[in-house]
Symmetry: C2
Subunit: 493 residues, 2 copies
């Protein structure tokens, strides 16, 4: 089947271009001197454009048509690979090049203005640029809706998590919006305040401990490294994973938990099917599945009492710390402390979904033009009062806190919480079906857990969709109930 | 003139691809974990191929033809830019894609075998792979000779230093081959052995001092950085220069001198004309001019008695060293110590040209098939006896020492020594015309020197050819005499 083979070569080329872009991105965040910014932006734009042209070219379209007619000759993996190629092509060809270019300009401008407007809490300053971003996102959603036969918001969702719809999100998030405010109230009245854990925690010690924990979790330093950046991320490619951290010397937990979170992403990337490197079916499923892997490691495993029993002596040893504050029990109390706060990225796992519900409902209304952007600050504050019972004193702590909308990432927020639901559902399935895989956590032995994740999630790449995979592994499609059960068990029992 | 403007956009795109490749190369040498090697090789091959396809495309050819017909409308810089575009196109289109691919495979294989054969001194093991590399280089030389109307060896030379011919090299190197053996004899009988400078010299101290010297010489860390690699190099792009070093804790001088050498390259790159970034005319002239800038800084400036007077107290302070061994006079004696040795990269500036003469004569004979590769070890040893008066005990210290030929870099070696000649000629022109520019060396003040190099060399990019530029600046084309004068002044007076 020459058409399919030609497509594999073409998509491998595209994967090499994206892999090069991943190195350029990592370098920009970790190594590049400030004066390299302008030429790096040119390099990135050029490679992105070359990749886009390769994907949307008439040859790609003709080959896809030809291969789709010969689909009977393909095995299951090849068939899924072709399906993913078609999906990528459909997304890329849905948009006129002029719209893509206009979006690149508009989001670059909005991001730049946002960086100035946020510290000054000056929403009015951002408003015109943000209006332009949303105007273009509406165009994008309309064009993709037409091409993919989806509702506009769902067409954007499909770019982050294939097959996800707002109807499915409503069914998952509405119960959380209903139940979590009460649950939060109960947790706040019951939880015991942890003792403060006084520092300082030198960055070198945090890094050494972070490296040790990464290795323990199964991160392979023959195929990756750890560096520093302003915002931790997991980048690179599956055979060369670039993870970054940030160290706050007054607070060891935040840096370490971020490393553990990113290690969850890293293990997923490294565990993707080796035989399908460089092909669409060899990639991760989507943002929900990816976030499920980071949150399974961070929230389900590493904020557990079992793991903190393992971590506590390592922490004491690394920083020469001592006393009740550094006992496993107190560290656990600190790791699962819940509180009402304005900032999503600082939120605990009980309040985080409420931050997401707020953003999800607002961005749907904004995209549909049911809410005017000028009215966003008021609507934001109303939503915060209704969901979390607090009102931000200014827009810096309110609707200006996230970069997502200025960056044009609309329909991204729900993936965070759906990832948390999926993490809880997976963890409980492991508890039920393979309790041995969890027995090592208290000893810092993650081999069985990693083997389970590899065999059941990572090595499947994007062959099935998320719901199919989850149903096979847990017996059910994605649900809110396991997550609520997890919260009740951890915070109310 | 739409054709010329379209070419500028096209070559800017090519420059972005090459800039991305420069980051990938730097990362591979400094940061990449070993397990990333295979996918990185794919990324590099893909970007190289995309760049090559862009350069040799029919559209590029048609635009060059059209622009060449409208050349009257171009100013001096634009005209030179078009000339450089035509040169790049002529080189790239001279070769069939099959030959380029065969060379990539053959050199990758020969390099790999060379890495194993060299430590074992096993020339026979390398021979078949090296024969294949030379066979393909003969094809390359023949194809380029036809396309560029040059002799075969000169056609390869033109790829490293435009306009350079073996007739010109003979005229420059033959006198050195005649005179240097006697001069070497005289130096060896006269020179005073330096006292040993006992270490250790911790890597952190070497790096701190290296950074300080780079800054002093004018390296801008807003537009570049210093890292470590197995072999020091200067990479990156003009606005983001990536320099690397290697530290031997028993010998501070070798690491520091390598940093100073690479800083010479870095200052040239950073000083290239800002208005022509990303265009062929904005690039450096060629390998001779580039090596002249590194050797001017290392050999002419930093191995001078004046510079060592400035460096000596910094060295003593950095490493807490003391005594006569760390006096400026002794450090100077060590910096200019001359000796007969087998290894080119360890050679001093008196014997280095003899190593180059040997390689130049051999590679010309090998390319012309006047010497069989199987006879290379004998011919090498003969040449060493005739030129340097010593015979390597094995091929590891003989014809297996350099990676250039296995890597397919034939006609590269002469550029090193022509660069040394150009450095001496430039330095003496500065001494005569702008002695003030050199007055600061003893104080570690290089501002006037850098300003002179910028105004007279760097900012001219590739607008003129090397001989035109050198004649304008020094009044003469490239000559051996200033270099010989320099050696006599430094080593015999």
């Amino acid at each position: 089947m020459p058409a399919y083979q030609a497509l594999e070569a073409r998509f491998k080329r595209l994967s090499d271009i994206r892999g090069a872009l991943a190195v350029l991105h990592w370098d920009r965040q970790t190594m590049m001197p400030a004066g390299g910014n302008a030429v790096r932006a040119d390099q990135v734009a050029t490679l992105q454009q070359i990749g886009h042209e390769l994907l949307i070219s008439d040859e790609t379209g003709a080959l896809l048509e030809q291969a789709s007619a010969e689909v009977a000759g393909l095995d299951e993996w090849q068939g899924a690979n072709l399906r993913e190629m078609c999906r990528a092509y459909a997304h890329a060809t849905a948009l006129e090049p002029e719209l893509v270019a206009a979006q690149a300009r508009a989001t670059a401008r909005a991001e730049m203005i946002w960086r100035e407007a946020r510290p000054r809490s000056d929403f009015k300053r951002l408003l015109p640029a943000l209006e332009e971003v949303f105007r273009l996102s509406r165009e994008e959603a309309a064009a993709k809706a037409l091409a993919l036969d989806l509702a506009p918001y769902d067409a954007l969702l499909d770019g982050y998590e294939p097959g996800l719809t707002s109807a499915a999100i409503d069914a998952l998030l509405d119960p959380l919006a209903d139940l979590l405010p009460d649950l939060l109230e109960q947790v706040l009245t019951r939880q015991r305040e942890p003792l403060p854990t006084p520092g300082p925690f030198p960055a070198a010690g945090q890094k050494a401990l972070g490296l040790r924990l990464m290795r323990t979790l199964g991160f392979d330093f023959e195929h990756g490294r750890l560096d520093e950046s302003a915002h931790p991320f997991c980048g690179g490619v599956p055979d060369d994973v670039r993870l970054t951290a940030r160290y706050d010397e007054s607070d060891a937990a935040s840096g370490l938990m971020a490393i553990l979170h990113e290690t969850g992403h890293a293990l997923y990337n490294a565990g993707l099917p080796k035989a399908w490197r460089g092909q669409p079916v060899g990639r991760a499923l989507g943002m929900v599945a990816h976030e499920s892997q980071s949150l399974l490691i961070e929230m389900q495993v590493c904020r557990s009492r079992a793991f903190l029993g393992y971590l506590a002596p390592l922490l004491r040893e690394t920083f020469g710390a001592d006393g009740e504050a550094f006992s496993a029990d107190n560290l656990y109390r600190a790791a699962i402390r819940v509180g009402r706060g304005f900032i999503r990225v600082d939120a605990d796992e009980v309040t985080y979904p409420l931050h997401v519900v707020l953003r999800y409902r607002l961005e749907k209304a904004l995209l549909a033009d049911d809410l005017r952007l000028a009215d966003l600050p008021g609507a934001w504050n109303e939503g915060m009062r209704a969901l979390l019972g607090i009102v931000p004193p200014d827009d810096r702590l309110g609707c200006l806190q996230d970069i997502h909308w200025p960056a044009g990432a609309i329909a991204y927020f729900p993936c965070y919480t759906l990832g948390a639901l999926m993490a809880a559902q997976l963890f409980q399935a492991i508890e039920a079906a393979a309790p041995d895989a969890l027995a090592g956590i208290a000893r810092g032995d993650f081999r069985a857990l990693l083997a389970w994740l590899r065999a059941n999630i990572h090595e499947h790449g994007a062959r099935d969709d998320t719901q199919t995979l989850l149903t096979r592994v847990t017996g059910r499609p994605l649900e809110a109930r396991p997550f609520l059960r997890h919260l009740e068990a951890r915070y109310l029992s």
